[in-house]
């Protein structure tokens, strides 16, 4: 599934095992503030997203991605490129 809704749904599934505080995940959930992910966990998630859609997420993209919705948009752009 490579439409925006499908990508978002799959990202939620990938994040769920890393959601140690079991918070409710939304488009506006932030990785640092809400999920409190450290950089190693983030890179682990990046690797699983890269495998899922066979994409490469460049390092310089990461500082601008604060929320799950922004990550879904970024994946969408990389998939349709």
């Amino acid at each position: 599934m490579t439409d925006r809704a499908g990508i978002y749904a799959r990202i939620i599934e990938l994040i769920q095992p890393l959601n140690s505080k079991s918070i409710v995940l939304t488009e506006n959930t932030s990785f640092a503030g809400d999920l409190e992910m450290d950089s190693l966990t983030v890179m682990d998630l990046v690797a699983s997203m890269e495998d899922e859609w066979d994409i490469v997420m460049p390092l310089n993209m990461l500082p601008d991605l604060e929320t799950i919705g922004q990550v879904a948009d970024a994946v969408m752009r990389l998939v349709t490129k």
């Binding site: 990785f31 890179m43 490469v56 310089n60 604060e66």
Partner: protein, 582 residues
Amino acid sequence: MSKSLIALAPTPTFDALAYRRAAFDTVGEALDYAALGEKGMNFHDARADLVRAYPYAELAADARVRALRLLADGVRPGDRVALIAETGADFAAAFFAAIYAGAYPVPLPLPTSFGGREAYVEQIATQLRSCEPKLVLSPEGLFPMVEQAAAGLCPAHDWTPYFAVPSPVTDLPEAVKTDIAYLQYSSGSTRFPHGVAVTHEALLANLAGHAYCMEAGDGDRVVSWLPWYHDMGLVGCMLAPLANQISVDYLATEDFARRPLSWLTLISRNKDATLSYSPTFGYDICARRISASIDVKERFDLSRWRVAGNGADMIRPEVMQAFVDVFDAAGFKASAFLPSYGLAEATLAVSIMPLGEGIVSDLIDERTLSGSGGGRTDKRQPTRFRAIVNCGKAVPGLTIEIRSEDGVIVPDRKIGRVFVRGLGVMAGYFRDEEATRAALSPDGWLDTGDMGYLSAGSIFIVGRAKDMIIINGKNHWPQDIEWAIEQLPGFKAGDIAAFAITTPSGEEAPAVLVQCRTTNVDERAVLREAIRSKVRAITGMACVVELVPPRTLPKTSSGKLSRSKARSQYLSGEIQPFDVAA
């Protein structure tokens, strides 16, 4: 077509050039010599496939052309050239262009996680303000952020178009061994950075010293994923192999973070002996990544891993044992572990374990380590021991002393502050007389800020007297946490004490005590959450936050906040945090 196939052969492990153990006056001269052989750097992608072989000969030629560009742009000996330290040929060529131009290259960090654009821009800007470079160069992808950071401070350029401009040929300046070679920013806090200035002489002495301890030379290959903005990555895994004419296989740090097992794939593939270093967490995430579906014996061959170096953070023996348990099937030998101790202020290495001894540790009573001394007070309570790793003997050219609080040398096996003197000690902190005087005595003794003891010439590090907090190999500073909280209304310096606590598994975690006047438990809960998220937003750390009554934080005799006293009073229960509504 055929050209690209030839270009994609890695540089060799052996060549005809006679081995010279870092015996050069300057690091530029070391590169000139390495360029006479066929060895060099090899860059791989996240799946460990070779994308670029970069022989030292090509690096030297590129760097000389780029040095002319810097000179034409007005860069003069002693000027600083700031460089975003992306692992790749572009950074290496720009670093040595600055060296050949007589300028000081200043490696700057890369972003490491989701979000945090503002914090990254501010970090770069702070380091630029500290080193006042002639210009800053960056890869294309990070250029918009670097340009923003450099606004009003210095010109910023994307290094590809910058170096594409042809420049007139002229003589390059001649460096001498007492000149500063580079500035290193890995040791200061983000908010209050200190650039460590290292001379060519100190650098090459240290590189020769640890190559001697490792018996490094012909037939060895280095494999590294360590970042080039950190001393172990830059000095240990870029400058050391180059000054010792050894080929290196690189994996970018962010690729290692995504696919750590690619590190072990590169080591498995090397038909000759491998030298490779990592902080504790690198071994940890590899061991954790192995699941039942991975056939370790089939997939990896770690039998030729001659030196598996440990350093850059506290070495945790149980993590190393877990790595051995998992990778024994792939032929990994526990005797390949090589504990070491070092810091950027001593170029890199202070001490290294003798080859082949692996990890040897002492079991020490936790109470001895926390300084509370004395025997077991309550016999019904079990004694908690911590394993302290033997970090080996001083590298040639360096002397270690352990001193008490009043500066007296203490006997063997007594814990005190670690001092180091000799070749390899930094020239000072760049343009920071006060910080330099605090760390370096007139007769050349460096106060490492670490606590440890000597036993028959071997050094055992028990912790840091400096307040640094190391998480996943990354250094954090309590000043940065405290500064973050001061940004909230109603808090001022002196109300806040941040420090590291050790979790039962031996990992470090940041904690902060905040004096607060609020009596309502619900308001306290709101306040604590606000503090937690502010620290998270500014430093990226999840911090234990405790609210304490006013005037509980201890001061030093000079009236300054004492983080170490606050820490020990908190751990002993002398400081009681307020209750907070759940």
